[in-house]
Amino acid sequence: MMRGKYVIAGIGHTAFGSLPGRSTISLNVEAVRNALADAGVEKDIVDAVLVKYPTSHFESIYGQKVAEALGLTPRINCVVDQAGASNIGMIGYAAMAIEHGQCEVALVSFADNPKTGSRAVFSRSRDPNAVFGWFGVPAGYAMVARRHMGEYGTTHAQLGAVAVACRRHGAQNLRAQLKKALTIEEYLEQPMMVAPFRRDDCCLVSDGGAAVVVMSRERARQLKVRAPVPILGFGQGHTAWDVAQRPDMTTTMAKASAATAFKMAGLLPKDIDVAQIYDCFTITALMTLEDYGFCKKGEGGHFVEGGGIEFGGRLPMNTAGGLLSETGMPGLQLVLEGVRQMRGEAVLQVPHARTSIVSNQGGVMHTHATLILGQP
């Protein structure tokens, strides 16, 4: 049984926001330096480096460039491309590789600089459909949101409730790129951008990096790691087909991803105390909560209303602000906050939280990965 046998031994990140002049390699190195320091270990014990390539700019052998900058010659070194699901995907691959003797201590790292560099990747056409004006990432998610609204009666105010919760939490997080709370009235007054989405349905564009150190619980004990957070479960599910081609637009393989992770952890949704749910767009978090089984399909709108996902609610979600408020980086910030909650070191610490679930997803709900964490 792998449940609890592997841990996140250290977490690190850079500042979030505009970081002019910083290369993605430099941001990766800073995040890794901080993660190693947090774990209290030297870099020489690292023998695996797994990296998600910068979303804004693909580079060949990028993982090796990061390893070189870290001064390492690892046994395992790769870029994994599962878009926004990559980081939890890589944490799972790291645990499995250690389990099978392929490596002992793994770094999982990501950095990007689209805010001060190029953000063109987020508005490009969805070929070969440029002639229809089918451009940009937000429109893909807006297409899913509209179908959800039509099938289940989900409202604008319910989408807005996700943004309000994340912004409320982010406003209390000194690291957050956007520290400005949002009321539902302010949200509803915003003009449409790509209807049914307004600006604040959409995540931030951010420079920054983050990294985690993965090793066995036993190795962490030997190294006297301060607060190793056990990985209770992980899983993946890939819807793969593009939005227009999915027979069902409002259910994704997030469901299979969570089922795999819950089974490994021996837990059910009711056992989860705090959630970090990927919120690149408001609909993403709302649908993930449904697919994870926190509520029935179609009831996500009701679930997020009335403060249910806010600090003090029945399932506090994105307690550091998520992609809508802390940083737009694709996923590792959510893992870091899940770790802090389990250590009891979060700014908005959920009292007595013993389990934390984290979701990562990417493309337009093409990819999904789930992580369940327990207490040190």
């Binding site: 229809f132 004006g133 940009g136 179908r147 003009p191 209807a195």
Partner: protein
Amino acid sequence: MTDDEKAAALRPPADPLGDQFWQSLKEGRLTFQRCKHCGNAWLPVRSECPRCLEADWAWENASGAARLISWVVYHRAFHEAFADRVPYTVAVVELTEGPRMTSNIIGAGDPEALKIDQALRLVIEPDFGLFVPRFTPV
């Protein structure tokens, strides 16, 4: 941006099957592919059947009847070629024969009043140097 510049910027990438798809539209027909091996019908164009993986298929003409799966309304242009077209509607439609495709909804009045699953029919319009398959409410 001139009309020629827009057409060049938006032209689908060169592809032998894609070229046949767009040529048929020029002749007034929206076509899709049907597998001779398993009967599966699909769009967008691809060289193997995504159900049985065989490469033995034929073009078929769509009747033009479809239903609206979902739609978005662009109030901001993400490309210069659409700067003078906002607001405009992009939709996912399902042909009666089964395949789904990305398209536009035209002639709908207020696009916020559209309904999922409502009936649509095909309208082929010359635009951007192509003949573009769009849909309008029945």
